[in-house]
Assembly symmetry: C2
Homo-oligomer: 217 residues x 2
């Protein structure tokens, strides 16, 4: 997991940034407590859904009183958006650093796909990684404008997959149109959020093996 300031999902131990980067007009950035609210919200939104989660629930989980979240976030919507944006930034950062790792570009396409799949599973299923699942399953709850902002990040994320899938398609290892293949593959991975249980048999490695074996010739 990267340690880059306020975008790391579970880095509750982050020191207050000195030159604090104010992110949007909707939020303040007071370091510690704000992160506590984000992680509490992500966990609750994932377990109960956005609409079924109370700002009072979130406040209590972060050890605050009922009105205090609104000192850090303008609204419940802004809190949801911050969770999703933060999750997508972390996922993008992890996927990019995997792709840019030395020697990665020289790997055969099927090994590159395997990398993408593994990191994706880890982003979804790793311990404490609630941010991206919330983004996947609660985007309906976002106001249209903020949903468009997120769509941009999602599009960037998908663009990491396209060249790899194109190469696989060209070499005959992928037998479906690349556009639909990407949607179907990401769907197969994203759905794991619904059924994966770390206490049960399969590990993230097992899932990665099964998925790549399933999709490739």
């Amino acid at each position: 997991m990267s340690t880059d300031s306020d975008l790391a999902e579970v880095d509750t131990t982050a020191k207050r940034p000195r030159g604090r980067p104010r992110k949007t007009v909707d939020e303040r950035d007071d370091g510690n407590r704000r992160v506590a609210l984000l992680t509490a919200a992500a966990s609750l939104f994932r377990r109960q859904g956005f609409a079924a989660t109370t700002t009072r629930d979130i406040a209590a989980a972060a050890g605050m009183q009922s009105g205090s979240p609104f000192y850090h976030f303008k609204s419940k919507d802004a809190l949801l958006f911050a969770v999703m944006e933060s999750g997508m930034h972390a996922a993008l950062a992890r996927q990019r650093s995997a792709v840019q790792a030395p020697g990665h570009a020289g790997l055969p396409a099927h090994a590159q796909l395997r990398q993408l799949v593994q990191v994706h599973f880890d982003v979804l299923l790793g311990p404490g990684n609630d941010f991206v699942p919330v983004m996947l399953y609660e985007s309906r709850s976002l106001p249209a404008r903020q949903r468009k902002l997120l769509a941009q990040l999602i599009s960037e994320y998908e663009s990491l997959w396209t060249p790899v899938l194109n190469a696989l398609r060209d070499s005959g290892q992928l037998r479906a149109p690349v556009g639909l293949a990407r949607l179907l593959i990401l769907g197969a991975l994203n759905w794991s959020v619904q059924w994966f249980d770390p206490k049960k048999g399969a590990s993230v490695q097992d899932l990665t093996d099964a998925a790549t074996a399933l999709f490739l010739n």
Copy 2:
């Protein structure tokens, strides 16, 4: 689409059943209006989510006053459960009648998988088919007891896939463990609810082609 009484998803024209089969203690069965509530609820639950949908919204969509849904359903939860149960019964009926169609048993395994995939896409994406998507994406909102009842139906549904996948695995056409393969494949299909747009390029046929090509050797 089958026409079997109150379980058909979009059959708003159903006549009142004579020997009315009272289904559970939680609901009455007055035919017409009850079905109107179910279809209105399914549509709203799908678009807005369960928690964000008001019983007043549902009543208005069915042309009733705010208190009237509770004449037909004991609670908002009971309405959600009825939507899900009805959707799963319809899906099971459609999948079974496809499997039992004359000549189907003689088809090669890859053609049987194609059938399952096509019917599944149609259940999810066909016009007015909101019931099963609600079940897929709102089961979190169900009380534990009713979730267990649904799990039974889901398990029956999945059991239709297992022998086909086993046959494909044995003949080398499927290269992943059957258990994980089933989860991944159904995930790829289920996720289409999030992105499929009938007004855009791809048709359900296209999706079926792409999915079978992607999964099979």
